[in-house]
Structures are given as C-alpha cells and as structure tokens.
C-alpha cells in the first residue's frame, strides 16, 4: 500500500490526498477507515472509484503498475460488502493464473480480515488442495475462494455447480494481461461465460499490469465482448535500469553468462535482497551453482523454479517472506504478482525478450509504487546486449509490447462441451450461445461449432458403425449427457490447456532405494541419460541411476562437469516491438555509445568485415563452417516467421540440389546449413514471395510441425489423454503416439475438424504467416548477398544457437550414410541376389 514518502514535496502531496480521500470515502465503513489509518495508509482515489463502480454494478478493469496495491483494491468492494455477512455461501471468486499466487493472496487477505474481525472465510482451491478439503468446499464453500482457471473448470463440471456458484457476486481475475491472446486465456473466458449462466448478476473485476492497448483487454473481459469500464493508474516512477559493465570478455554466443558470475555475486553482496531472473530452468540451475562456487561470504542464496517439488518451493517462499534470504535465482515462476516483501534489486541475466515482461520482473524490486525500482541487466552474449539496450530505450520512452487478441482456440471447445455435460445435460443450442458470450469466440461459426459438437458426441467420424462408443448420449428430451461414468472420470483427469511434456519425478536416493522426491524433469531428458551421467537439479549435482516406476532415481554426486538439464519450455518469444528496437539501434551508430564497449567493438568489426543490416534491405551472408556452408538471413522478423522461412527455403534448396542439412533461428535471423554453397542467382529464387505458394502447401501437409500441433490439439480436445496423468496400470497400453492417429485421419478422413484445428493452430502458433508474407514482398529484390571466407562477427551468436530444426532429404541422407553400417549390408546383398535369381523359373 502507500509508502512513506521520502521527499518533502511528495509528503505534501501525500497529506493532501489523505485529506481529500477522507472526504471521498463515504463508501468505506468506519471499521475499514480505521484499519487503513492504523496501517498508516489512506484510501487511494482509484480504490474509492472501485467502491463506487461496485456499488453501481459496473464491471471494471483496473490497470495499475506493480506495487500500487492492486490486489487489495480488487477485493475491497467484496470485503466491504460482506462486512456483516451471516450466511454461508460463495460470494467472491478470485482467479489467478498461478497456483503460488493464490497462497500469497490468501496470506495477505487474512491479515485485514483478522484485524478487523470480519466474518469472512477465505480458502484456496488448486491442484494441490487435498481431496477431503475439496469435498468439503463443495458442500460448504468459503465466502472467498482463491483458485486457478483449471480448478475452476473442474468445479464447474460437478453436478452441484449451480448450487456452489448460484449466489456468486464478484469474480476477480488477476494478472489479466498474461491471459490475453493465449489458450489459457481463451479457456478462462469460457469458464467465465459458464459462470454467467449459473450466476447471471456477478460482477467482473480484472486486475492487470500496464499494457499497450487497454481497450482490447477491457473488451476481452466483458461478459459479451462489450468492454468493461477502464480504470488506469499512472506509472509514477520510472525504474533505474543499467547494463552490467564487466571487465570480463563478453562471449559471442551462449545463454549462460558465465563470464559475469563474479560481477553478479559482487552486486548481490552489496545489495540488501536481490531477485535474479533467468529465462530457463537450466539457466537457473547453472547460475545457482556458479554463484555458490563464488560464494566466499556464504550468503543465503536460494533457487526457485517450477520443476522443484512443492515442499521445496514452499520452504523458499517462507524463508524469503521472513527475510532470511539475500538472493533467489528464479525463472518466470516468480514473475507474476507474488509479494516478496523488500526486494532491493532485480538482476535479469540473459535477454529480456519483451518490454512488458522486463517491467514486470523489475517491478518485483521495491514493491512500492511510487519509488523507482533498481535493476541490472546482464546480457549473456553480444546480441543480447543490443536487446537489453533496446528494452531500456523502450522503457524510457514509456513503450509497451502490444499483445494482440486472437480468435479463440477451437480445441478447447470439446473440452468445454464435455465439461458442461458432466455437470448437467446440455443441448448444442444453449452451449453455442454460451460460447459466443466469451469474447475470443464471437467469430465461431455455427458450422464449426457443430463439427466440434459432433466430435465431442461420438468422434465425428464418417464411419460410425457402433453407437455404443459415444461419449455423449442423447436423452429423450433432446439434451445430451455423458455416456458413462468413465467419460466423466477421464475428462476430469485431463482438464486444462497446458500440454506438458511427459514428466518423471526425480527421487534423490540416500541408501538402498530410500529417498525423497525433489521435483520433476521432462521424460525426454531422462531418456537421454545413461547410468552414471551427472546433471544439476534442485541446486546440486546428481548421478543418474535408472528409471523405476515412473521415477528417475539419482544419487548426490561430487562430479565436476555435469550434463546440464536441457529443459524445454524455456524459450521465451521475443516481442516484435523489441526486435524492431534492435534493428533501429543497429542503424543508429550514434546511439552505440550507450552499449558496453565490447559490443561497440563487435559492431565495428561487423561493419568492417561484412555489413551492418540496412533498414531497407535484408542482409544475407554466406561462409563455410565445419565442412558445410552456412547462409545467414537477417530478417529481424521474430522467431516464428524465421522458422517458417527456414522451412520453406530449405525445401526449395532441396529442389535446387543444394542439400540443406539443418537450420536454426533466432528472433533476429535465420541460419541455414547446407552441403553446397549458394550464389547470387540462388538468392533470387530463394528469397521470393512465390515460396509461399509452391512450397507452403506441400510442406504444411507433411511437416512434423503439423504433427506437433496435432499432438496438442489431440490432448486438449480430449482425443487422447495426457501421458501418465493417471496411475491406472492400463495407461501404458493406452498411450501411443498421436502421430499414428494423425496419419490415420489424414488417410481416411482428411476433412476431419481436428485436422483443421491443428492446421489453424500451426499457422497461428508456429508460423506467423502474415508477417512472413509481408517481409518477402517488402524485400523482394532488395537483398545484400555477401560471400565471406569465414563466419562474420554478427553471425556467431546465431550459428552458435544449437537448437536447430532438421531438414529431411538428400543432405541428411548423405550424413547418415557416413554414420550407419551399410558396408556389411552391401556384401549380404550379393547373397540375396543369388537366392532370388536361383529361385526364378
């Protein structure tokens, strides 16, 4: 809440508005006013407005910077409303995108409730809630329930949902900005639409960090796409952000920022409490290890990320809250609104990836809204230094990334249909109307809905020989309900939109088979380990022993060189705004002086050896490297568009006999590796808009990416289960690759709705087709092709990005032939020939 003003001028303003708000707060009961006063706080004007809007029954989106007391403001009208509540019913629902946030809010809400002795009960309800408590919550819900979208959807699937939610008055949706334009957000709007039918009068209150387009978010939140009322609180203090100036050599590539460990450690030692943000869990583990190896003063430095076990995370949260820690190394897991008390400094290690994301992270420092936050950016390589500077420039200019609203993901619809049917019998007509009330789904055509409905009922296949395999069965009155209890159970076990890679629990073995579960790793990571391999996990070195009963067994080890966990899900997309910022920065050599000295030298070297990408042209470099030829396309169009370009260009290269092997993308460019070199004439046919016509269709149908997106669609839509979610023994038998289903559907039912959904998903999530088309048209014939004898300075960070996509074709075959054992096969072939010819009549 309000802080102690430090400057005299601020103090006068503060006193003024305490007086003014005193007059305004007629809506605030005396007990509340007294409690505010006892905290040394005054009701802020916007908190007053929230009370007025609630009184007038007006839904509101509150946009405020971090630390402005946003969350309490959201709850204030509800608390006031329940001041003299005597009945037991669910009055207010709070939806948070993060489980951890519900715990935090719970703690923060209990204080005013206890101190004012309000007759209000507050409970959390997440995936971690024990089942006896869930049962009890269904019978006797608390006044305020704090939950996540998935848990809410699960509650909506119960037969007693109308009773639980029937008297609901407020729904508070926190961190709304993180729900715009993604499946989880679409899912949330459907849950809100369903609530609208159970409690038609409830009021929506959205809480959001600062966004580029507030009006879009307000429409998203509206019950029928009509925007809710906006309430914006201005950012008062700009953060102080600096890029680390290290005496060490900043590397060209890599993401680990090893060079800066001593500097980071010194900075932590000087500050009070520091949050160190990284972009992936692997980076977090490594950075944590490196910091401890540097930790001569034995500072309490902790590790926190989403793969660690619940107990471990709780422990760290508690230590932080009680001020026992000097630093936490963390990922986006701590990005959203958890209040960590007094954090003095935020260090971002690695590229910031987005202006809003960086601001959100920086906002963790000094959780008070009228004081400037302190932040230090540590780029891991020289390209990242450009990105850091571009982000600093953007924040100084008050710019934000624009999240765009997209039409809702269709694979969630079947899940929603089954969910509603689990609660009570439904008709397609009523559900279609409810779905249309969710803002992202207003464009859903009746035809599409009908196909999704039919899929939900019986799979929607043309060939339906046996009626008894239906998921939903029609009643005499024309409504539908689940065909069996099994349908209901299966659905409830799989609710959600985040498709996770198969995971294994990590058991830390002490002796024999005894040990403790300390977290989870992705299945594919476990598969690449062989017994004896070491890796970093939960802040220590472990030695892999084996996989038993879906658990990865490992023992503490003292080895030196670990196989670092290569977790997926760590790649944050670079916002287009920031990518453009980097391009601008490159073309203003006058601004380079703000960059670290080494980065300036790197750019000067690029200028001398090759070229700096011009604003009106696409720079294409080629050079030999490791027995192959690399071509670099500096598009600055973001990872997705570059990925698509890579797919299409390599296909055409295959046709031209250039034997492409693989390509890798960054947000800035595309790097293609091939066995044959390019020349100027190739460029004209490679960087061509017609690539979208000839190669695209061909590729879309056969690309592994479409299978990848089908896998997600299959799970979200309920076609197959999430792997290993259930402990049932039959699971192993039931699960097989969705690729097989994809192939089967393609062959026998190419028009099936799920294939269509998978394709739309791929175009939307993976391709960024529109942006690519724009680029190809804009730059046709405007390319700078440079043939270099060696890798250019600017290409190094891109070439070193090892996460490359492979190309199927002749080039790959050539490599395989070297690797595999075919010589012996050749000799056996003679024997076969002999057998065959001797048998011929």
């Amino acid at each position: 809440m309000a802080s102690k003003p430090l400057l005299a001028k601020r103090r006068i303003n503060y006193l003024l508005y305490v007086m003014v708000s005193g007059f305004l707060s007629a809506l605030l009961p005396a007990e509340f006013a007294a409690w505010f006063a006892s905290q040394g706080w005054a009701v802020r004007p916007y908190q007053q407005t929230m009370l007025e809007r609630a009184r007038d029954g007006q839904a509101t989106l509150l946009i405020a910077p971090t630390g402005a007391g946003k969350t309490l403001s959201g709850f204030l009208p509800a608390l006031v409303d329940m001041q003299h509540e005597t009945a037991e019913y669910l009055h207010t629902l709070y939806i948070s995108p993060l489980k951890a946030l519900t715990q935090d809010i719970h703690r923060n809400l209990l204080r005013p409730i206890e101190e004012m002795t309000l007759p209000i009960t507050v409970e959390t309800r997440t995936g971690d809630t024990p089942s006896h408590k869930r049962q009890r919550q269904r019978k006797r819900p608390p006044h305020i329930l704090l939950t996540t979208p998935e848990s809410l959807m699960l509650m909506l699937s119960y037969a007693d949902a109308p009773k639980i939610f029937g008297r609901l008055k407020y729904v508070i949706i926190d961190e709304v900005h993180s729900l715009i334009g993604n499946k989880r957000g679409d899912f949330t709007t459907l849950a809100l639409a369903r609530l609208q039918t159970l409690a038609p009068g409830y009021l929506r209150v959205g809480l959001s960090a600062t966004v580029a387009k507030p009006a879009l978010v307000a429409s998203w939140l509206g019950p029928t796409g009509e925007p809710v009322g906006l309430l914006e609180v201005a950012d008062t203090a700009k953060p102080n952000i600096a890029i680390l100036q290290s005496a060490q050599r900043m590397p060209f590539g890599g993401f680990m920022a090893k060079y800066a460990i001593a500097d980071i450690y010194q900075t932590i030692a000087k500050a009070g409490t520091t949050l160190v943000f990284v972009n992936t869990r692997a980076q977090a583990e490594l950075l944590f290890q490196l910091l401890w190896s540097e930790n001569s003063q034995v500072l309490p430095i902790a590790l926190y990320h989403g793969s660690l076990s619940k107990e471990q995370r709780r422990k760290t949260e508690e230590m932080m809250a009680s001020g026992k820690l000097r630093a936490i190394v963390t990922t986006s897991a701590l990005e959203l609104g958890i209040d960590w008390g007094d954090v003095d400094l935020v260090i971002q290690v690695g590229a910031p990836k987005g202006v809003s994301r960086l601001l959100q992270r920086i906002g963790r420092a000094n959780h008070r809204f009228d004081e400037a936050s302190q932040a230090l950016l540590v780029p891991a390589n020289r390209f990242e230094a450009l990105e850091c500077q571009a982000a600093i420039d953007a924040i100084a200019q008050g710019a934000r990334d624009g999240a765009s609203v997209q039409s809702g993901a269709m694979d969630i619809i079947p899940q929603f249909i089954i969910n509603c049917a689990c609660s009570a019998a439904v008709t397609p007509q009523e559900l279609y109307q409810q779905i249309l009330n969710a803002a992202p789904y207003q464009g859903l055509s009746e035809d599409e809905f009908n196909q999704l409905w039919q899929f939900s009922v019986d799979g929607g296949y043309a060939l339906q020989a046996y009626e008894r395999y239906q998921r939903l069965t029609e009643q005499d009155d024309g409504s539908y309900k689940p065909a069996s209890l099994r349908v209901v159970q299966r659905h409830r076990q799989n609710i959600g939109t985040i498709v996770e890679a198969g995971k294994l629990k990590v058991k830390r073995i002490r002796r024999g088979n005894q040990g403790k579960i300390i977290g989870e790793v992705e299945e594919y990571f476990a598969q690449q380990l062989t017994p004896g391999d070491t890796f970093l996990f939960a802040g220590e070195m472990l030695r892999f022993e084996g996989i038993r009963d879906m658990q990865l067994h490992a023992r503490p080890d003292k080895g030196k060189e670990p196989k670092i966990p290569s977790y997926v899900g760590g790649q944050l997309p670079l916002s287009t705004y920031l990518a453009d910022g980097v391009r601008r920065l490159l073309n203003q050599p006058g601004h380079w002086s703000a960059l670290p000295q080494q980065v300036q030298e790197w750019l000067a070297l690029q200028q001398a050896y090759s070229k700096i990408p011009a604003p009106d042209k696409v720079l294409i470099e080629q050079f030999p490297y490791r027995r192959a030829y690399y071509s670099l396309y500096y598009t600055f169009e973001g990872r997705k568009a570059n990925q698509t370009l890579g797919m299409l260009i390599t296909r055409r290269m295959e046709k031209l006999g250039l034997k492409p092997l693989s390509f890798s993308v960054t947000d800035y460019g595309l790097s293609v590796c091939a066995l044959k070199p390019l020349d100027e004439s190739h460029i004209a046919s490679l960087f061509q808009p017609d690539i979208l016509g000839d190669e695209l269709e061909d590729w879309m149908l056969n690309a592994p990416m479409l299978k990848r997106s089908f896998r997600q669609v299959a799970i979200v839509s309920g076609l197959t289960e999430q792997r290993y979610h259930s402990t049932r023994k039959t699971m192993k038998q039931v699960t097989f690759s969705t690729d097989l289903i994809y192939d089967t559907l393609r062959q026998y039912e190419p028009d099936h709705i799920l294939l269509k959904v998978a394709r739309e998903d791929a175009e939307r999530e993976l391709l960024d087709l529109r942006r690519l088309a724009d680029t190809l048209i804009r730059f046709v014939g405007k390319t700078d092709f440079i043939d270099l004898p060696k890798v250019s300075p600017m290409a190094i960070p891109i070439v070193l990005d090892v996460r490359s996509e492979q190309v199927k074709g002749a080039g790959e075959q050539a490599l395989l032939d070297q690797a595999a054992l075919y010589a012996e096969a050749e000799s056996m072939l003679d024997e076969v020939r002999e057998l065959l010819s001797s048998a011929q009549p």
Binding site: Y461, Y469, R490, T720, T730, T744, Q747, A825, M828, L835
Partner: protein
Amino acid sequence: MLSESQLQPLILARQVLPFRFGESVWLLDHRAAVYWPEQDCLLIADLHFEKGSFLSQYASPIPRYDSKSTLQTIAELITTYSPERVLCLGDSFHDIGAFSRLLPEDLQQLNTIVASVPCWNWLVGNHDPAIPASIPGHRDETLILITRGGKQIKCQHIPDTSDALQIAGHYHPKALLTTPVRRFRGKALVTTENLMLLPALGQYTGGLNIEDGVLTALAPKRARQCYLLCEQRVLALPKGS
C-alpha cells in the same frame, strides 16, 4: 517371390535392408515386416486389429480406422513380396472381442488377403489365445522353421529362455537414434546371435524402448544389433546400442 529387379530400388531407397540371422540372410522392410528369401516367407507380428474400437469402449474418441490401415499395409507387403508363406507372430487381434467388432468390409478384406497366400500361419498370442474359426489359415502355438544349413528356428509369440534360435514378437520394440544433426524415432527390430524380436505392425501400437530393462535383459546391448524403422527407411543402429 519378388524379383531381383524389384528389390534393387527398395534397397537403394533404404526401404529394405538385408541383415544376417542364424546363418541366413533376411530382409527388413520399413513397414515393420521381415522377409526370408530362403523360404519365400514373410514374417509379421502384433497386428492388434481393432485396438481403436477397444479403446473407444474406454471413452476414448480416437478414430477407428486402425484395422483398415493395418490391413492395407499387409496387402501392400504381400503385393511387394508375393510370399509363399506368411507367418503372424501373435497378438493379431487386440482382444477376444476384436473379431466381433471388425467391420464386415474389413473382415472380407482380411479373408481375401489370407486366401491370396498359399500358406498362412497364425501363431496365437497373449491378446488372442484363439483365432476365430471363420478365418482361414493354420493355427499354432509355436512353429519351427528349418534353414538351408539345417538349423531349427523356433517361432512363437513370447520367446522362451532356452538357447535355441528364436523369432518372436510381443515386445513392440522401438528405438531412438541421435545423430549430431537430428533425432530419429520409430519401431525397431532387435537381433542377437539367437534371438530376433520383430517390430509391431499394427497401426495403433505403442512400443517398448530398446533401452528398457526388459529388452536389455533379453538382448544384452553388447550382443545385439538393432534396426530402426523411421520415415519409410530402415536404419542400422550402431553395434552395441
């Protein structure tokens, strides 16, 4: 029997790979089948007909085209090799009720395929202890093949622990090959000096990784040679993997 000129392009395209087992030469087809030129015999395993409809009994709405797809693969294999004999190494039907769920047209195609081959042997498996009487072909628990050199090869669904030369199915081996450039993943054939484990042919068959303890116990890494079927090709895995 296929002709030499038919085989040549298949081998060049890596769709078929010769390998040695029990002093004989065999051809591994990327469609998860093994052809034995010596006796003009095609071996297939774990067809799992009607697994799709079995799962839909458990509320799974997956498309039920798996039997059609599996049948088509078998028909194509028979067109390629026109074998004198086909040997099915068990688990041809996913469950006891599978036969009754086969669509009439699929059943008809199955009968047509079986009838087109002079000799068809069904070995029974744990999923299909009995093959319905209306389907043509011989039924056996085990079958002994004899090589030109006079060696006996025992064929059955699940291999026994003896040292005899054996060919079996049941385990649905699959493998992952990691090269510096990319990863390949697919069904696999596992061979040792005296054991050959066939990949599953059925469209909806999951698999057991060759790294799994069950398979390394049967075919120890040092003693085995595995082959990966992936993207319409057969890849020999490095020895000892």
